[in-house]
C-alpha cells in the first residue's frame, strides 16, 4: 500500500487469557490510514474494534503484529514506551466524556493538562492556547472556569476534543465519540469533527457501532467481526455494494425511517459465538445464509475483489461466483 500512509497496521493480534482459554480479541488486523483521511471502523460488541484503537494509541499492548506510525516502526510488545517519539502526534477521544474528565478539574485546566505535561510554554502562551482551543470547539471562553458536572454531555465531549487537540496531533483515534449523545447533539459533534479535520488537516480512525454515523464521517470503512476485518472499501461502495454477507446483514438490520419501505433482507439469525476460537473456518459461517463446505473448514483471507475493495469471504474467491450479485 502507499508509502504516504501515516498509519500502517499489519497482522495485529491481541489475545487475552480467559478462564484458561485464549481469546483472540484482535485476530490479524491490517489497515492503513492516509493523511487527512477518516477510516471508519464498525462492528458490534466483541468485534475487537475498540481494542484495535486502544493498541494504536498505546493504551494496550499488542500480542503480535506491527504498527508503523508516521514512518516510525513501533514494536508491538513495547506498547506505551515505544510511542514516546510519536506520542504528541497521536491523540484519543473517548466515548464517555463524563468518565474521561477529572471532576475536580476546571475545563481550562483539563484542556491545558497535556500542554502542562509537555512543558515549554509560558503562562501567557498556555492561556492563549486554551482560549484558542475553546473557540475551536465552539465553547465560549467563559466556560473555562467551569467544572465538568456543569456541562451537558455534548459540551463535555467538546472539552474532550479540545484536550485531544491541545498538542496539535495529526492523527486522532475517536472511539464511539457520539454514541452516548442524543441525536440532536450527535450531529453537532460529527460536524465539529468534520470542520476540525478540514481546518487542521487531521486524520481520524473513527470507531463506532452506528453504521449511519460512520457513513456520515468516513472516507473508507472497515467492518470487523469476531476480531477480524471482514470487509474494507471506500464508503460509497461499502454501503451500496456490500460484498461480505455479514456487512449485508449489518446494513439490513439498521432500522430505517422510511416507514413504507419493506426491510430489504431477512433478519440474520444467531449471535456472536462466545467461544470464537472453537469455530473452525470462517467465524461468521454459523450465522451465514450462504455458507458452504469450504467456509466450515478454511478461514477466508482478506483479498481485493475490486479496486480498493477487500473482503474476506470464500464466495468471492474463484471458482465460486457470488449468488447475490447486485
Amino acid at each position: 500500500m502507499s508509502v504516504s500512509s501515516i498509519v500502517v497496521v499489519r497482522e495485529l493480534v491481541k489475545t487475552y487469557a480467559v478462564r484458561g482459554a485464549l481469546l483472540r480479541a484482535v485476530d490479524g488486523v491490517s489497515f492503513d490510514v492516509r493523511p487527512g483521511e477518516t477510516l471508519g471502523l464498525v462492528g458490534e460488541s466483541g468485534s475487537g474494534k475498540s481494542t484495535t484503537g486502544r493498541i494504536l494509541v498505546g493504551l494496550d499492548a499488542a500480542t503480535s503484529g506491527s504498527i508503523n506510525l508516521f514512518g516510525q516502526q513501533i514494536s508491538s510488545k513495547a506498547g506505551k514506551a515505544a510511542l514516546g517519539a510519536v506520542r504528541r502526534r497521536l491523540q484519543f477521544v473517548f466515548q464517555d466524556p463524563q468518565n474521561s474528565l477529572n471532576p475536580r478539574m476546571r475545563a481550562r485546566d483539563a484542556i491545558a493538562e497535556p500542554l502542562d505535561i509537555a512543558g515549554g510554554l509560558t503562562r501567557a502562551a498556555r492561556n492563549d492556547r486554551v482560549r484558542e482551543l475553546l473557540e475551536m470547539v465552539g465553547l465560549p471562553i467563559s466556560c473555562g472556569d467551569r467544572f465538568p458536572h456543569e456541562f451537558s454531555g455534548g459540551q463535555r465531549q467538546r472539552i474532550g476534543i479540545a484536550r485531544a487537540l491541545a498538542l496539535r496531533p495529526e492523527f486522532v483515534v475517536c472511539d464511539e465519540p457520539v454514541s452516548s449523545l442524543d441525536v440532536s447533539i450527535q450531529a453537532q459533534i460529527v460536524n465539529l469533527l468534520l470542520d476540525l479535520q478540514e481546518r487542521l488537516g487531521l486524520s481520524y480512525l473513527f470507531i463506532a457501532h452506528d453504521l449511519a454515523v460512520v457513513r456520515s464521517i468516513s472516507a473508507r470503512v472497515a467492518v470487523m467481526y469476531a476480531g477480524r476485518i471482514v470487509e474494507i472499501a471506500p464508503k460509497r461502495e461499502l454501503y451500496t455494494l456490500p460484498r461480505h454477507p455479514y456487512t449485508q446483514a449489518l446494513l439490513a438490520a439498521v432500522p430505517r425511517m422510511r416507514p413504507n419501505k419493506a426491510r430489504a433482507a431477512a433478519v440474520v439469525a444467531g449471535e456472536l459465538p462466545s467461544q470464537i476460537d472453537t469455530v473452525p473456518g470462517c467465524t461468521f459461517h454459523p450465522r451465514c445464509p450462504f455458507a458452504f463446505e469450504r467456509c466450515r473448514t478454511e478461514k477466508p483471507k482478506l483479498r481485493e475483489i475490486a479496486a480498493g475493495h477487500l473482503a474476506a469471504c470464500h464466495l468471492h474467491e474463484p471458482p465460486h461466483q457470488p449468488p447475490f450479485a447486485n
Binding site: E44, V183, S184, Q188, P255
Partner: protein, 329 residues
C-alpha cells in the same frame, strides 16, 4: 379513531423532589393506546418519555413523586388513584413491562425458571409443575433453543439478547393486554435488535396485545409502531400516525430531529443540526420550551405556552404558528 382506547393518559403532570424543591418532569402529557396497536413514544434525554411510561404502573418512588395533575384511564378505572393492592394485580398481569437493561431487571441469584414461574404462580395460581411446563413453553415462544435445559441456568450465563428474550417471556407469561417496552433494544447490537423487534412484533400479533414502545431511535419507531408521540422537555410536542409524522412533520423539533439522524442510505457532507442544548428539567423556559433552539420562533412562542392542536386527520402538534401556516398552504 372511533374505537375506545385500551389506555389513555390525560393531562398527566409528574413532579420529583430534588435539592431545589419539586421539579416538573412531565407537564400535561396526553396520549392513548388502542387495542392491538403499537404506540411509539420518542424523545431525547429529559424529554419525559420514560417518566410517562413508568407513571402508568406508578413505578416511581412514592416518597419523592407527586402526580400533580391528570388521570390514567384503564378498564374504567384511574390507575393513579387505584389502591396499591389492586394495582399489583394489574402489574405483570394485564399490563407488563420490559426495560432497557435485562441484566439489572433479572435477579442474578435466581434461575430463569424461578423468575418466569413467579408471575404464573402469582397471577394465574398455577402449581409448581404446571408453571414449569408453561415456563418452558414460553421460552420456546421467545425462540430460546433447548428451553428445557436453559431454564435452569442463571442470568449471567446468557448473552444480552438472550436475557432480553427471557425478560419478554416473563412479561408475556400472563398474556398481557398491554406491554410497555422502555428502550428494549438500546443496549443490544443492531443484528440482535432486529431479532428482538421481530420477536416482539410476532408476539404482539399472537397475543393480540397493545405495545407502548419507548425509544430514542426514530428508525425503530418507524419500523415498529403505528402511531407515535414525540416528547420534548416534558411535553408532548407532536403525535400522529407513523406515516404522517415522517412524511410531514409539523413541529420544528420533530422536523429537526428527523433531519439530524444520519441516513445509512445516503452520502451527506454534513449533518443537519438542531442548535443549542437540551434544557435541564429544572430550568424554567417561558412559552414554548423549544423556542431557544427554534429557527422559526415568533414573539408569541416566547410568551404563551402553546396548546397541542389538531392539524387534521389525527395529527396533533404543539406549534400554533406552524399549524396556521399549514392551513393557509
Amino acid at each position: 379513531m372511533a374505537e375506545q382506547p385500551l389506555l389513555s393518559v390525560e393531562n398527566l403532570t409528574v413532579q420529583f423532589r430534588s435539592d431545589i424543591g419539586w421539579v416538573t418532569a412531565i407537564d400535561g402529557v396526553d396520549f392513548a393506546v388502542h387495542p392491538g396497536e403499537c404506540l411509539g413514544i420518542v424523545g431525547e434525554s429529559g424529554s419525559g418519555k420514560s417518566v410517562s411510561a413508568l407513571s402508568i404502573l406508578r413505578l416511581h418512588s412514592p416518597a419523592n413523586t407527586r402526580y400533580a395533575s391528570g388521570a390514567i384511564h384503564y378498564g374504567g378505572r384511574d390507575l393513579l388513584t387505584l389502591p396499591q393492592r389492586r394495582l399489583r394485580q394489574i402489574r405483570g398481569g394485564e399490563i407488563a413491562m420490559i426495560f432497557q437493561d435485562p441484566m439489572s431487571s433479572l435477579n442474578p441469584v435466581l434461575t430463569i425458571a424461578d423468575q418466569i414461574m413467579e408471575p404464573l404462580r402469582q397471577h394465574q395460581g398455577l402449581s409448581a409443575r404446571a408453571a414449569r411446563r408453561q415456563a418452558i413453553a414460553l421460552l420456546d415462544m421467545v425462540r430460546i433453543s433447548d428451553a428445557s435445559r436453559r431454564i435452569d441456568d442463571y442470568p449471567h450465563r446468557l448473552s444480552g439478547g438472550m436475557r432480553q428474550r427471557v425478560m419478554i417471556a416473563i412479561a408475556v407469561a400472563c398474556r398481557p393486554k398491554l406491554l410497555i417496552a422502555d428502550e428494549p433494544t438500546t443496549a443490544l447490537d443492531v443484528t440482535i435488535q432486529s431479532q428482538i423487534l421481530t420477536l416482539l412484533r410476532d408476539l404482539q400479533r399472537e397475543i393480540g396485545m397493545s405495545v407502548i414502545l419507548i425509544t430514542h431511535d426514530l428508525g425503530v419507531v418507524a419500523e415498529f409502531a403505528q402511531r407515535v408521540v414525540v416528547m420534548y422537555a416534558g411535553r408532548v410536542v407532536e403525535s400522529a400516525s407513523v406515516a404522517a409524522l415522517f412524511a410531514r412533520p409539523m413541529h420544528p423539533y420533530t422536523e429537526g430531529l428527523i433531519q439530524a439522524v444520519p441516513d445509512p442510505d445516503e452520502d451527506v457532507h454534513r449533518l443537519a443540526m438542531i442548535p443549542g442544548n437540551i434544557p435541564d428539567p429544572s430550568t424554567q423556559i417561558a412559552g414554548c420550551r423549544f423556542n431557544p433552539r427554534c429557527r422559526h420562533a415568533v414573539r408569541s412562542c416566547l410568551a404563551e405556552t402553546p396548546a397541542l392542536i389538531d392539524a387534521g386527520a389525527g395529527h396533533f402538534a404543539r406549534c400554533p404558528p406552524r399549524i396556521a401556516a399549514g392551513r393557509i398552504a
